[in-house]
């Protein structure tokens, strides 16, 4: 049932997306990208996909937005020479190709078979999965394989960022030093927000067992709490060779792999025995949240850099 609101929202999402892609100004593009993420979260909400909406707002709009903003300011500082515009034929070719793919996709939509998806199958298996939230059941149990790989992708991304560090800066504290006035607005913000964010983050992880929420959404909120504290200059970013940090980064993926291997020995990869599934899933979700929070925050902090300079 498409209501006028849904139609307007869909149209707005498309327009904002166009602005984000077509805008010539990098900062505007990022701002439109963040707006796009928030509107997309609203769209997921309209589709009753609260889990996805939470993830989109927290990760898609919030965290990716911060990463893009930081990346843009770093790129700007480098002042790259203007790349020559690609050859007109190349541009026309790319345009025609993109138009062809889009047309194909649009034409394919009416040809899709009418299907309710795997909803019935998931609901049937739900009592055996150890959780009452079908999304968590799919993510951690039925399709745990995907989530395992996702957490490894996050780790790989962090390794990629760390390889950008200069030899003389390694292993130092992540990113640049943040200095703020101790009585300033930002420091005040950094003192008030993190305790609240900690509670909300832990709540989101916990509630994922039976309602929308989970390790990714909660972990992102926890990461945000940490990022705000560091950006407000209240805590230094951790050293990249800090043992506690390394443990936090690895806890979730390692626990996942251990569970996968244990399942392999007992039955098959990533099979949770139904009688113990609830406990296993809860523990796994908690550890994953810690690792996701640590990894996302470290991605935002960046590689160790020269901290002696004037640059904040």
């Amino acid at each position: 049932m498409a209501t006028p609101f849904d139609l307007a929202l869909s149209l707005l999402v498309l327009v904002i997306a166009a602005f984000a892609v077509l805008g010539r100004h990098g900062f505007m593009a990022v701002v439109f990208f963040i707006t796009f993420g928030l509107l997309l979260a609203l769209a997921w909400l309209r589709l009753d996909a609260v889990d996805v909406a939470l993830a989109e707002a927290a990760i898609g709009a919030g965290l990716t937005g911060v990463l893009l903003l930081v990346a843009r300011s770093r790129l700007k500082a480098l002042e790259p020479p203007l790349a020559p515009a690609p050859h007109p034929v190349l541009r026309a070719g790319a345009g025609v190709g993109a138009a062809a793919v889009t047309t194909g996709l649009v034409l394919a939509i009416p040809a899709l078979p009418l299907s309710t998806g795997l909803q019935a199958e998931v609901m049937e298996q739900l009592p055996l999965t150890g959780t009452d939230n079908p999304v968590t059941a799919v993510l951690l149990n039925l399709r745990g394989w995907d989530t395992l790989l996702e957490t490894l992708v996050l780790l790989a991304a962090l390794l990629g960022v760390w390889t950008l560090a200069r030899e003389i800066d390694w292993p130092g504290r992540a990113g640049r030093a943040h200095r703020t006035r101790p009585d300033g607005v930002l420091a005040q913000f950094g003192r008030v927000l993190p305790p609240l964010a900690l509670v909300i983050g832990v709540y989101l992880v916990w509630v994922g067992g039976h309602r929308p929420g989970g390790a990714f959404q909660g972990g992102t909120v926890l990461a945000a709490a940490w990022i705000v504290t560091v950006m407000a200059g209240l805590l230094p970013a951790p050293r990249v060779d800090d043992r506690t940090l390394r443990t936090a980064l690895l806890a979730g993926p390692v626990a996942f792999v251990v569970l996968a291997v244990a399942g392999l020995l007992a039955d098959s990869v990533l099979v949770f025995p139904p009688d113990r599934a609830k406990l296993l899933l809860l523990g796994l979700e908690a550890l994953l949240a810690v690792s996701i929070a640590a990894t996302l925050a470290m991605l935002v902090f960046g590689a160790p850099e020269d901290r002696s300079g004037r640059d904040p």
Partner: protein, 100 residues
């Protein structure tokens, strides 16, 4: 009766948002734009939250609504201060070092 109250309050709130958006686009400099924006944020969102408060099923939802409103005000206020300082004085390396 409650529905009418909700509709009135949300309508008023939307009015503030619309006025704030117009101000954001039409006002000439950053401080006045921030002025328009923060008024819309605080008062508009407050009125909408108040309107919705008459529709909540239980006390828990009411508290959540209150928390959302308080957090939005808090972050909007802090962001406006930071934007204002960057706009008034050029950045000298400290994010809010221009405070006097």
């Amino acid at each position: 009766m409650l529905d009418a109250l909700t509709l009135t309050l949300i309508g008023l709130g939307l009015g503030f948002f619309a006025a704030g958006s117009v101000g954001l686009i039409r006002f000439p400099d950053s401080p006045s734009r921030l002025h328009a924006l923060t008024k819309a944020d605080n008062l508009g969102l407050g009125l909408i939250a108040l309107g919705l408060a008459f529709q909540v099923p239980d006390l828990g939802s009411l508290l959540k609504l209150l928390l959302v409103w308080a957090l939005a005000i808090f972050s909007a206020g802090a962001a406006a201060q930071l934007v204002g300082r960057v706009a008034v004085e050029p950045d000298d390396g400290l994010p809010d070092s221009t405070e006097r």
